[in-house]
Symmetry: C2
Subunit: 187 residues, 2 copies
């Protein structure tokens, strides 16, 4: 796919066809993601692929509970505007996508969050180039259950940066409005 086309075509997808994405394709996309640059060529990204719908439901339930608890404790929590949505028992944070890929890394590495974000950007573009849809699900960074983290291979030294759902789009939304970029200085 041409880059100009890809740029416009990448959307955050939240409605998927009832069709699995094979691990083979997901691994191909991970192999492309690591072409991202990284600080000092550190490549401090790790990946776990989850296509077990029951496990995804457990992660969704745990994340929703954790965020709702936090909102109760802090009236200014950024997620407050999502309270009603998160309280809906039928709401799954993964939007019933067939798979989610967790990109994560070692907390103590200085530029790990940036490196994982760059790999995530590449991953989302690789998906678009295959007519697959993705969405970065920030809520899924909020899991704390040792059982779930162990299932995902995420030890306590690691931090989840980018949980990205993937599937075949059922519906491609319009491009959300963009503000004019703020170019503060041209010197």
């Amino acid at each position: 796919m041409n880059y100009d086309e890809l740029l416009i075509k990448r959307r955050s997808i939240r409605k998927f066809k009832n069709e699995a994405v094979s691990n083979e394709i997901i691994i191909e996309m991970i192999n492309e993601s690591i072409y991202a640059p990284s600080s000092g060529n550190e490549q401090s990204w790790k990946f776990s692929i989850v296509s077990d719908i029951k496990l995804m439901k457990k992660i969704s339930d745990e994340a929703k509970i954790n965020i709702l608890k936090r909102i109760e404790l802090n009236a200014n929590d950024y997620a407050k505007k999502y309270k009603e949505m998160l309280s809906n028992i039928n709401y799954n944070i993964f939007y019933n996508a067939p798979s989610v890929v967790f990109i994560f890394g070692d907390k103590k590495l200085k530029n790990m969050i940036i490196n994982c974000s760059l790999a995530a950007s590449y991953f989302m573009m690789s998906a678009t180039s295959r007519n697959l849809g993705t969405c970065w699900i920030n809520f899924a960074t909020e899991i704390k259950s040792p059982y779930l983290l162990k299932e995902l291979g995420i030890s306590e030294n690691f931090k989840i940066v980018a949980p990205i759902i993937i599937g075949y789009p059922e519906q491609i939304p319009h491009i959300p409005s963009r503000k004019e970029p703020e170019i503060i200085k041209i010197i």
Copy 2:
């Protein structure tokens, strides 16, 4: 440019032709960068474009001094391995590129670093699609001089995430080796 080609062609470029990149082209690329997704469609990225070689030299000198000072104070500093390079008076952290774009944002916004990293990833791809070269210059995040920060339009509430040099490549290096991606779990 086809995405498969772009993926392989994007390199970190540190040798540039003695040829300016017009502000018009840089602004075009910024306009493409904001197609990046952002947390809650927050678009918390700001840009400053610097093509004033004297100012770039001042920023380079200040960053080098700050990092060298830090290395003196901390034997385990991550930048210690660059001490000799940073001590070389002829070393310019911007590799004599004709321009640098600073991507930065408001420190208090929760996902600002991730959002700016995604815009930076798009910016580097937009450059490659125009046969331009870029390199993320992390050293340039280390400026503290109020004079220089003011010149760049970066107030104390803002944090520099991605300083990216841009120019026409004189030399495209080989692709640095990549480790096999660590896929920790497939569930």
